[in-house]
């Protein structure tokens, strides 16, 4: 092993990958930390629905939040696949905790993609160290899948922009120090893709408020906030890219953030498969372990096959996106679509394998089933993923 070994071994034309020694070590280190330090907290995080500040500190201390950031800003400087390996391992035991890394990456991507050198120097070191958290605020009550319909306005006023409006379903919106806010700077732009601009907003600015926290079915420890901006003044130095770049920045962000959600989904599915398999081995009915029954065996085999298929597609997609191989938006949508559906099916079947015990909170699978649902919804519903895939197909036909 030498320092010049690439993090991921890919051949760009065929998109084949295999995990490097370094990736395996990083993955295993995160797995140990997840098993020993995060898993014992998962049930309580779900029950109390409180943001696990201790887990955030743990992820910061062990450089896990530093994974998506370049070394020059204090990051670990790994590739997309390695970030996904970490999200997968954490989500295997606690989807809320896995989301801490996924959201940090989601929020930071607009800065990484479109930020100037000054902006990166200003915000990324604290984000990489986990001293600050960042959220991504695109969705509004009336602008979900139709992101172009954003009504939040940003109006230039001298050296500042003044932002008015509201955002909904913003992960970490109430705990973040920075929020990337997408606001219309030119609502009447001829090209609807040029209506929005992206701003990094410090949440301690006057005019920023958290107006509501949602009560959710799953990922209950991850605060999902409604945000209001009232005459919120930000310097033009906080604008990412140019006026009108916002929609493009958001779409390029999703090309790299959706695999993170796919990784969360694969992790949840893997966690549920492991619980169900152990239960099938230990639970005795009709005088023998239920794992000896073919109907249970078939369910476990299908769960394993679906999880592994989703995982392989995810890793392949990460390698392709990193290598600029093909249409990255399509790869991102493919892996999230397949992984989200796999997580939902596998966790539902895990509850079935456990029977009545799966429906109560003595075992983790009911939590995993509730957590799995969100992976079919956020960062684009499964329907939006299909739309992206189909458009890519037809464009290249």
């Amino acid at each position: 092993m030498t320092a010049t070994t690439p993090a991921t071994k890919t051949t760009s034309s065929s998109g084949l990958y295999r995990l490097s020694e370094e990736q395996l070590m990083l993955r295993d280190a995160v797995r140990v930390l997840a098993d020993e330090r995060i898993a014992p907290r998962a049930a309580e995080i779900d029950r109390t629905a409180e943001f696990p500040e201790d887990v955030r500190q743990l992820l910061a201390t062990h450089d896990i939040l530093a994974l998506p950031f370049p070394e020059q800003y204090g990051g670990v400087g790994t590739d997309l696949l390695t970030v996904c390996l970490a999200i997968e391992q954490i989500s295997r035991v606690c989807a809320t905790s896995g989301l801490i890394l996924a959201v940090q990456e989601l929020g930071a991507l607009p800065v990484l993609i479109a930020g100037s050198a000054d902006q990166k120097q200003r915000w990324l070191p604290d984000l990489a160290a986990g001293r600050t958290l960042i959220a991504f605020a695109l969705t509004e009550a009336e602008a979900g899948s139709d992101a172009r319909a954003v009504r939040t306005r940003a109006v230039r006023d001298g050296d500042d922009y003044v932002i008015d409006g509201a955002k909904r379903f913003i992960s970490h919106g109430s705990v973040a120090d920075l929020v990337v806010v997408f606001a219309a700077t030119d609502p009447s732009a001829e090209k609807t893709g040029r209506r929005l601009s992206a701003f990094v907003v410090e949440t301690d600015r006057p005019g920023f408020s958290v107006t509501r926290l949602e009560h959710k079915m799953g990922i209950r420890g991850s605060p999902t906030a409604e945000l209001a901006f009232t005459g919120l003044r930000v310097p033009a130095a906080n604008l990412l890219g140019e006026d009108g770049d916002g929609f493009g920045i958001a779409m390029r962000t999703f090309e790299r953030s959706r695999p993170g959600i796919a990784a969360q989904a694969v992790g949840i599915a893997q966690g549920a498969l492991e619980v169900a398999t152990r239960y099938a081995r230990d639970r005795k009915q009709f005088g023998r372990p239920i794992g000896g029954l073919q109907m249970i065996q078939a369910m476990l085999a299908d769960m394993d096959a679906q999880t592994e298929a989703a995982r392989q597609l995810l890793y392949r997609a990460c390698a392709a996106i990193e290598a600029g191989d093909g249409d990255p938006a399509r790869w991102a949508a493919l892996c999230k679509l397949v992984a989200g559906d796999a997580a939902m099916r596998v966790t539902t079947d895990a509850v079935q394998v456990l029977g009545g015990y799966g429906y109560i909170d003595e075992f983790a699978v009911e939590r995993m089933m509730r957590d799995a649902k969100i992976t079919q919804l956020y960062e684009g519903t499964q329907q939006i993923q299909r739309l992206v895939i189909a458009r890519s197909l037809l464009r290249h036909a």
């Binding site: 092993m1 030498t2 070590m25 990083l26 280190a29 930390l33 062990h62």
Partner: protein, 262 residues
């Protein structure tokens, strides 16, 4: 302050796959290798000492050629470099050979302290550290629960675990200290530590490089041999008394009286 930590790759006890080959040697292919757990406590103590006093930590191991993979994990915890003595003549070597090899390798290293784990989870002999100290003429401070270097006087003070509490020992440096788990839990490697470990120096030496002949240390020169193993009979299940104190005491006395223990 320069500290050398003796580390040994051992079969992972958590794998449940530790076993011997038919000729009584450790079957290294049977289970994945990890750093001996007691050595991790010694490494943690070393890292804390250099964090407090400055300096560097060097790992030293005598092990098969596959050891660097395991040693990288110890480097990821924060050790600065590693040195592995490996040689085709060494498989099957006994603790005396190991002691001679490690002592010879240490003669070429600069150090103020050598830290070692109390024993290993595979061999369990616990004789290598005192042997190394004896061969090198180093002060030997065992079962340390606390290690306090005194830079002003060039000495080290150790709290040694004793039946009645602690013995406080002080010796001039360089010295060899055997560490216990009372020194504190080993840290998890950070991800940056793992990345950095890839480019850390991990040297390799053969027997001849450290000036040891195969007559002094090798599998062929082994002074001990495993002639047989047996698994102890399983102990009867533990009886736990969960009663209020008075009733618990009554049952405990009855239990012991029944067996004529009191």
């Amino acid at each position: 302050m320069h500290i050398v930590v003796l580390v040994k790759p051992v079969p992972d006890p958590a794998s449940g796959a530790e076993r011997l080959t038919p000729d009584g040697r450790l079957d290294r292919a049977a289970a994945p290798a990890v750093v001996n757990a007691n050595d991790e406590y010694a490494l943690e103590a070393a890292l804390k000492l250099v964090e407090a006093h400055g300096g560097e930590v060097t790992l030293l191991s005598m092990a098969p050629p596959s050891a660097p993979e395991t040693m990288r994990k110890a480097l990821a915890m924060g050790a600065h470099r590693g040195l592995l003595v490996t040689d085709d003549a060494l498989p099957g070597a006994c603790t005396l050979s190991t002691t001679r090899v490690l002592a010879a390798a240490l003669r070429e290293l600069q150090f103020d302290l050598v830290l070692a784990g109390a024993d290993t989870s595979d061999g369990g002999a616990g004789v290598v550290p005192p042997g190394v100290a004896a061969l090198l003429g180093l002060p030997y401070l065992s079962y340390a629960a606390r290690i306090e270097p005194q830079p002003d006087t060039g000495t080290v003070r150790v709290h040694r675990i004793a039946p009645t509490g602690f013995d406080v020992l002080e010796a001039p440096m360089p010295a060899l200290v055997v560490c216990t788990q009372a020194l504190g839990e080993p840290r998890y490697p950070s991800l940056k530590g793992i990345m950095a470990a890839r480019s850390k120096e991990l040297g390799s030496r053969a027997l001849a490089d450290v000036g040891v002949s195969p007559q002094e240390a090798s599998g062929a020169a082994a002074t001990t041999k495993v002639v047989g193993t047996s698994t102890p009979a399983p102990r009867p299940p533990t009886r736990v008394i969960r009663e209020p104190a008075a009733e618990a005491a009554r049952q405990l006395v009855a239990f012991m009286a029944e067996r004529r223990l009191i």
